[in-house]
Symmetry: C2
Subunit: 302 residues, 2 copies
């Protein structure tokens, strides 16, 4: 089954377009997990990352279709972190979750193919269902990822219009009436449309990262990219609301997944949750935050 078909199936089954970002950051973890652990002992920190991530997966698996481990935070603690990353990916798959690896990889030719070999598909060494990819190197850097995604029934999400304020430095520059991000968007849509047509599906395997923090551009890009899955960061902690991202969805509640990282995984520290959960009950805070976010999109699936 294609990545796109699996995405659609799981989103409809769980009635939830929520994508939970797994960003294990030492200083943000519940105090109860960090207690008595020396933060300079990286294998011990990795062990905590594993516990934290797997318990998050236990909590969110019934409620969301997909999760997004952020590779940077696992790599940040060295080789011990990458070993735990591999285990977390496998654990998520066992829980029936689609795993989108947020690595923003990019390179050319056989090197790009190396990254694709690493991360794309259940038989790859890391076992991701999809990978985020950065487009600065151009089309011959993106094509190897597209080819691998098609072949391995996996997906990629190309950075198009990102959620950060500085993203405009290059992305918003306009050449002949067309911004840089629109050019990347058109390339992605063309690839995804042709893949969608081959499989007689609504969406292809080449997705786009489009931030929630620019709702107007998000709506315009939806028009421009009818066959492209959107991975939408910037919801919650970064300021994006459910209203801001509604335009990303089609009439069936498909076509987009909305990421929340901090707002869910570090829910124990949310100001609006203050006093509601004991420190030992951090998983209950995660569950409450997940259900709250899922509820904001539930109407689409009734």
């Amino acid at each position: 089954m294609t990545f796109s078909a699996r995405m659609a199936q799981e989103i409809l089954r769980k009635k939830s377009p929520v994508l939970v970002g797994l960003d294990p950051r030492w200083n943000s973890l519940p105090e109860i997990l960090r207690r008595n652990v020396d933060e300079t002992d990286l294998p011990a920190v990795a062990e905590v990352f594993r516990t934290f991530s797997c318990r998050i997966l236990d909590v969110v698996a019934p409620h969301v279709a997909c999760v997004k481990p952020q590779l940077a935070f696992f790599e940040a603690i060295g080789p011990a972190g990458t070993l735990v990353l591999a285990e977390v990916i496998q654990y998520a798959r066992k829980k029936g979750l689609l795993v989108i690896l947020d690595g923003k990889r990019n390179d050319i030719g056989s090197t790009a193919a190396g990254y694709a070999t690493a991360y794309l598909g259940k038989d790859s060494p890391w076992g991701g269902d999809a990978l985020t990819v950065s487009p600065y190197l151009g089309e011959d850097s993106l094509q190897p990822f597209v080819d691998a995604a098609e072949k391995r029934e996996a997906g990629i999400f190309v950075l198009v219009k990102t959620s950060n304020p500085g993203g405009g430095m290059l992305q918003d520059l306009s050449v002949d009436g067309k911004t840089i991000y629109q050019r990347v968007a058109d390339w992605v849509e063309e690839k995804s449309a042709s893949h969608a047509a081959i499989h007689n599906e609504n969406y292809g395997c080449v997705g786009a990262v489009v931030g929630a923090t620019y709702p107007e551009q998000l709506a315009q890009l939806r028009e421009r990219m009818p066959h492209t899955w959107f991975l939408v960061p910037g919801f919650g902690a970064q300021g994006g609301t459910a209203d801001d991202v509604m335009a990303a969805f089609d009439a069936n509640g498909l076509g987009a997944i909305i990421n929340s990282s901090r707002g869910i995984i570090f829910a124990h520290a949310r100001k609006d949750f203050a006093g509601k959960f004991a420190d030992a009950d951090w998983e209950k805070a995660v569950e409450a935050a997940t259900l709250e976010m899922v509820a904001q999109f539930q109407e689409m699936y009734t």
Copy 2:
């Protein structure tokens, strides 16, 4: 000592601006190393990657200042590959080589800082001297890398004008008479110049990747970026010659490092070396290729 000062010191000491790329690709390795190894047994493959990489380092260490492990090829074989990568980095450092990690990382805010924490500086978990970085996400994605590089006496190399034919898709687009790559170049130069001034040095810690395959743009970028180290890919196998890259250097033979990967590490398979080395003598081929390349630049240091 700053990254820039260490680079200058080692290049002058070795009289060599050659940067050897470590790209362990299974099918390209000397047959003698692959014999009796099952390529689906990834820990066994990782072991071969380690042997291959460390023996390359033994051969090239007397002749070059720096090496560039390509993270994609280590990640391509899963967690076992990343463990070997960590060992290879440490081995290179022990040999007195500067280690430039080619990961083309990019992300925003604290996630970018996560990558910087991972890879930059001798006390980081991976222990790189520098990291390649991709600029599509804009200035607030680059600044955390710049900050970490300055703080940790490390460097970064931002993709500016890459060596691949498709690089022009975005990089060559011109807005108000200034291409995208020139805009990235100006940002990099500003950061590097200010860092250079603080330390009273000629170059700063924010370098640029500028391909050998576009010699005209290379020369123009040198003019435009007088305080920026260039990492120049595209030499040799990709078609760039010593003449093509001479403009990258200052009068002291500094300011640039010229990368060769395949042409050196897979020298045993070079057509112009055919019949010269027995398969078991692949390290002699590596040494010959290294010396041949170093010789092309030696005049600058006499």
